[in-house]
């Protein structure tokens, strides 16, 4: 029986009067990569934003171990070990690559961040070459590396990835997939929203399908290896 890291129960989120999540419930297991699938507007990104505290749930529970996160502010949730790589990346464009990365570990203290930074440069040698450059001068793929590296600098218990392949070339999507393989091997728990189903099925261990803000399907990606078409139909039809 896999160990559960996060439990989400009956989560309701609305933007104004428009409900987006309507009672979504699912678990995230320690060390796995879970991907949320669904058509546009199904509540995938809203799920991530609710977990991170950027939107306040109207009802329901988000528990990380024994800690209730629902209703906490983003900085408090980050302090509990939940880091997000957002769709817009939200980097600090005028700061150097190294400053962006170091800031990811600032709340953790500077003593261990040097070691972590060396690990990030091992993982992304291109960032080591560009460590002094402002991030706005980097390509989209390199900026995505910085965003992922910054989140990893905090050594999160749970890493949320919102469209990690968004707007990137197929070559870089493969790099993302390989990176996620490496993170899984190191035991990093990930929750990913990804429109690129090829990448989602390549990188994830389990999937969940959201429709109209509720979970309608889910399972093991490998067990459904020959039924990806059925999953896709379930998402869009």
């Amino acid at each position: 029986m896999p160990e559960t890291l996060m439990t989400i129960r009956d989560l309701h989120v609305a933007y104004g009067k428009k409900p987006i999540l309507r009672g979504a419930s699912y678990d995230i297991h320690k060390g796995e990569c879970l991907t949320l699938l669904g058509a546009n507007g199904s509540g995938k990104s809203t799920s991530l934003n609710a977990i991170c505290g950027f939107v306040r749930p109207g009802a329901g529970s988000v528990r990380l171990g024994d800690t209730e996160l629902a209703g906490l502010a983003p900085h408090q949730i980050f302090a509990h070990g939940v880091a997000q790589v957002s769709q817009a990346r939200d980097l600090f464009p005028d700061l150097s690559v190294e400053d962006n990365l170091r800031l990811g570990a600032m709340r953790r203290g500077s003593k261990t961040s040097t070691t972590t930074l060396a690990g990030i440069y091992d993982r992304f040698p291109r960032l080591a070459e560009r460590r002094k450059q402002p991030t706005r001068t980097l390509s989209g793929g390199e900026q995505q590396m910085v965003a992922i590296g910054r989140a990893l600098m905090s050594q999160p218990r749970l890493l949320l990835l919102d469209e990690p392949s968004g707007g990137l070339s197929p070559e870089f999507c493969e790099e993302i997939a390989q990176l996620m393989d490496g993170l899984k091997a190191e035991g990093v728990t990930m929750l990913m929203v990804e429109q690129n189903l090829k990448l989602a099925f390549r990188a994830a261990d389990r999937f969940i399908v959201l429709r109209d803000g509720a979970v309608v399907d889910g399972g093991d990606v490998k067990a459904m290896e020959h039924d990806h078409d059925a999953i896709i139909k379930n998402i869009y039809l």
Binding site: A88, L91, L103
Partner: protein, 289 residues
């Protein structure tokens, strides 16, 4: 004469720089333009007047107390009046700032009426003579104080971890939240810093001009003109814009017509918005995908 005007312009511009910088500090983190900031400047000047003249506190400790008090007032203003209306329309922030400013001004009028008050000279610094050029004690005091303040401000911003965090919030509030920064508390702190910097401007003005409850209005416009010229939101631009504005006032007043001193700030705003809307240091955002 040119050098004399230049010294006067830089001295005047240094005060504008503190005011423009304090406006920019708040604007960069909150995107709120504090239309009541001139009255925060006035409140700082009056607070130092009360401490020095009415309570007999020496100038330096009085100035420090006034700056700390204005920092706390700015922080309380943000926590008590700005944060609760955060989800509302942007015009609400402008009206809140204007209203708070008028409350400060009203309090000053209730206590002192519309009379002008002389602040006693605080330092008897001898002027420096370089040939025909005279650098007055007031100019030395203003320039050295402002130079120290700006060096500390930009030094902290560029060289320390706290400065990097400040820059992070300025560049992406959401990104800052993603790395665990409490942006709401940061913004409260920013309002405090803005009010304190404005108060320093007011305290520097106090000994060289007469105090009156309406003195903040003209300095607010100077601050806006400096921000516009430097590029709205640019910290370095605010300082450079302020110095250029101070010089422009002096040159225009001396070489064209002295009446131009009063309208130079307005002319600068009109010309910059017309010719280079993003100012000297403003730039358009580029998003790479």
């Amino acid at each position: 004469m040119l050098m004399q005007l230049t010294i006067s312009g830089i001295s005047q511009g240094a005060i504008y720089a503190l005011i423009a910088l304090s406006l920019t500090v708040v604007y960069r983190s909150t995107t709120i333009v504090n239309f009541g900031h001139g009255d925060f400047v006035m409140a700082g000047a009056f607070l130092s007047y009360v401490l020095v003249v009415l309570l007999g506190v020496a100038f330096v400790p009085a100035a420090m107390l006034a700056v700390v008090a204005m920092f706390l007032l700015g922080l309380a203003f943000s926590r008590g009046l700005v944060r609760p209306i955060r989800g509302g329309p942007h015009i609400g922030f402008a009206l809140m700032c204007i209203s708070a400013g008028y409350v400060f001004r009203g309090i000053a009028r209730i206590v002192w009426g519309r009379e002008v008050l002389p602040m006693p000279r605080v330092f008897d610094i001898n002027p420096i003579f370089i040939g025909d050029l005279i650098i007055t004690g007031d100019a030395i005091f203003i320039l050295s104080t402002t130079a120290i303040m700006l060096a500390v401000f930009f030094g902290v911003l560029a060289l320390t971890d706290i400065g990097k965090m400040v820059q992070a919030v300025y560049q992406s509030a959401r990104g800052a939240q993603l790395i665990g920064i409490n942006v709401d508390r940061f913004n409260d702190f920013t309002w405090g810093i803005g009010a304190a910097l404005g108060a320093i401007g007011g305290i520097l003005i106090a000994p060289i001009s007469l105090l009156h409850p309406d003195l903040g209005a003209s300095f607010l416009i100077k601050g806006f003109a400096a921000m516009t010229l430097g590029g709205f939101g640019s910290l370095y631009g605010a300082v450079l814009g302020a110095l250029i504005l101070g010089l422009s006032e002096q040159y225009a007043g001396a070489y064209i017509d002295s009446a131009l001193i009063d309208i130079t700030a307005y002319l600068v705003i009109v010309l910059v918005l017309f010719l280079r809307p993003h100012g000297l240091f403003g730039r358009k955002a580029i998003v790479k995908v």
